[in-house]
Symmetry: C2
């Protein structure tokens, strides 16, 4: 049984606040272990990487070059794929690339009224590292979602790392890497792979930004190297908020709730509806559907522990609750979804209407599936092209425009007690060339 | 004497690498103290805030409401300002606002060839906290640079915190807050102010993003609350890289180098020139100018410990070095600066030509002066309007467009072993309304 909350009940507010505050991540403290791994790779380079890979992945090689996967190997993984699966991957790749190409930002520039040249421009980072988890949880869709934005941004080196437990790498992951045009692949994982990307070794050149999901060791390593390199946000367990009126088929909505619940016991699926009978029907549909799932144990526990059905007296109460939830994924399964979307200020991604289940966005819709979790959609965004770029501002004065604006600058520099700042301006006014 | 490096010398590369790697920040370990302050404010709220403010700022009040500064007080600080100083502040404010208004991002949206509605939109965070250091180091220009982007982004609550040692707040800071349209001001500082902004107290509502410079306690507190709220980057000591040919007045360039050196003993000023005689002339000009500065002790130590003059055989060698330095501030004091700027991939802000000293950008040019330090311009950007906004993607399918793209999604979901993902799509194909 999942939690049921009713907006009209007197204790709704404390119950809803508790739902928002529920901590679903394990506080596995691996900081010390990770710090020592990072230090070893930073100090010993290749030798530490080989040693740690043998230790953690049971994959023993004599030199780091042997950990590389060539472009030819990636291409043959793609060539050997079942044709319909390959076609599906191509569809996903093309649609993701098309959506991300629309995100490439324009800079701007020109002279202002005082004759000062002002501009802002975007440039890509030189090199990006893409962490891909190993073994069974290796998702080709995640390779596409992380590698394509980097390629669209114009990042020259796009370096994938993937652990190879006992030497095994999922061929689907390699096929996706080939399609997404990854430029380097190394069979390394864990904190040691993050260290190699951040600091470089004799064989692996360092990168500027590291993205991609991983376990607690990987997430902690990313936190610890932040500052030396940039990182994406640290993703928590997946979440969905489905807004559904009584016009929906309860089974469709049940399947949507379960599509997040099956990810992880810590995942969270919430529905808000304005119809108590529909709430009952969805609850029943979930119960009936659960036993049919391969991942029944995971999905059942997620739904029981973290799921919730919230009834509101009318949909007008919904946006405020949805904004407080600030869901990673928000489905608006009701009439006029665009109108309702206008009332949503905080969500990672919004799925409009009854024919847009969240899973379509995990694979083929085009927008990124790397999205902010745990209420962080209030202040952060899904992965995008700009995450692989940075902005530089440019200012250019000539003698005339400088003379117009510098006096105000001198006044402020002196008010702040910064005499050399003032001097660097006055010297150009009192002693012109 | 500052360091001199010559590109033509055999030991240039290790010397340059050492310059890049030099660690200029003190590793003051305050993490445990900060963690206990954050926990106290989180658990005890207002009472802890009052207690810690009395303890650290020697400013004793009975309730948090008494720590607020009203809009009327801010306005009278502005009204009482010397008129020419007020005019300078207005010039700065207007120019900064104009530049940041150009940054407001457009979203996009429309139907693709398959009939799928796809969009990306930007929304502001609900509330932003702006940390302003107290006492003498309180810079009105920093208030403008942090508060204006938030206002332009459309952030509703723009909350300034500023410590008031013995009850004192610099009136220039309040005047700047009035001009920049800050909506709330609290006389609190240190880690306790960061905690109040992140977690909220009985009297102070929490914010979603915290920006602004501060000491080691503030920086550490920002790191620790990251995840609960967003933060800007943690700024290190200031840096300037001046590229100057022999056509410059050595005194102008000396003043520019010193304008960063005067900030902090840990600040770093570097010049690259293609003329050894000009290098000598600038070195001599710095030595002659130093005693004339109010902040002679700070600037002298910064220049001696962290400054450097690098000579290159010709300017064509410069861009590679400049890109490795990835300076916070880069001056291009040579002919055709726009051309050279095209070769620069990594810099926080670029100042074009001989009449654009960096200090003009600190106050009145318009671009932000909160910029990435310590080589982080390789992957991060100066503060901007988008730092107070987040992106949401939107997807909408109807039955027809869903039928076109869903089969590829189902194929991939099954390949990843995620049956409920697949089910949420197949159920809409096999059982249409």
């Amino acid at each position: 049984m999942t939690a049921r909350l009713d907006f009209n009940q007197a204790d709704f507010e404390p119950q809803f606040a508790a739902l928002l505050d529920s901590k679903r991540e394990s506080d596995q403290d691996v900081a010390d272990i990770v710090a020592s791994i990072l230090a070893r790779v930073r100090n010993e380079g290749d030798a530490a990487l080989l040693d740690l890979t043998a230790q953690f992945d049971h994959f023993q090689q004599d030199n780091v070059a042997a950990l590389a996967i060539s472009k030819a190997e990636m291409q043959s993984a793609l060539d050997e794929l079942d044709p319909t699966l390959r076609a599906a991957l191509v569809t996903a790749c093309d649609r993701i690339r098309a959506f991300h190409e629309k995100q490439v930002p324009d800079g701007f520039g020109g002279l202002d009224d005082d004759g000062v040249a002002l501009a802002m421009r975007y440039t890509p980072v030189d090199a990006a590292g893409l962490y891909v988890p190993g073994g069974k949880a290796a998702y080709p869709s995640s390779v596409l979602m992380n590698a394509i934005p980097a390629a669209v941004a114009g990042v020259e080196r796009r370096v994938m790392v993937v652990p190879a437990p006992d030497g095994y790498v999922n061929p689907l992951v390699l096929a996706a890497a080939a399609l997404a045009d990854v430029t380097e692949v190394w069979r390394i994982g864990g904190a040691q792979a993050v260290a190699a990307l951040a600091y470089g070794t004799q064989s692996i050149a360092p990168v500027d930004k590291i993205v991609g999901p991983g376990n607690a060791f990987v997430a902690t390593a990313k936190r610890q190297v932040f500052g030396t390199v940039g990182i994406d946000s640290i993703a928590g367990p997946s979440e969905i908020l489905v807004i559904a009126d009584a016009q929906n088929d309860p089974e469709w909505i049940a399947a949507d709730l379960l599509s997040q619940a099956e990810h992880d016991e810590a995942a969270q699926s919430i529905m808000i509806t304005d119809d108590a009978d529909f709430a009952d029907a969805v609850d029943a549909a979930v119960a009936a559907m659960l036993p049919r799932l391969d991942r029944v144990a995971v999905a059942s526990q997620s739904w029981a522990d973290n799921g919730a059905i919230i009834t509101v007296p009318d949909m007008a109460k919904m946006p405020e609750l949805a904004n407080r939830i600030a869901a990673e994924h928000l489905e608006l399964a009701l009439d006029d979804p665009e109108k309702w979307a206008g009332d949503i200020r905080h969500a990672g991604a919004i799925f409009l209407g009854r024919y847009t289940p969240e899973a379509i966005g995990d694979y083929v819709a085009g927008p990124n599936h790397v999205l902010p979790t745990a209420r962080t959609a209030k202040f952060s965004s899904g992965l995008g092209v700009v995450d692989f770029m940075k902005r530089t501002t440019l200012v250019g004065c000539d003698a005339a425009s400088f003379a117009k604006i510098a006096p105000a600058g001198v006044k402020l520099a002196n008010a702040e007690g910064l005499g050399a700042h003032a001097l660097s301006m006055t010297i150009r006014m009192t002693k012109p060339v």
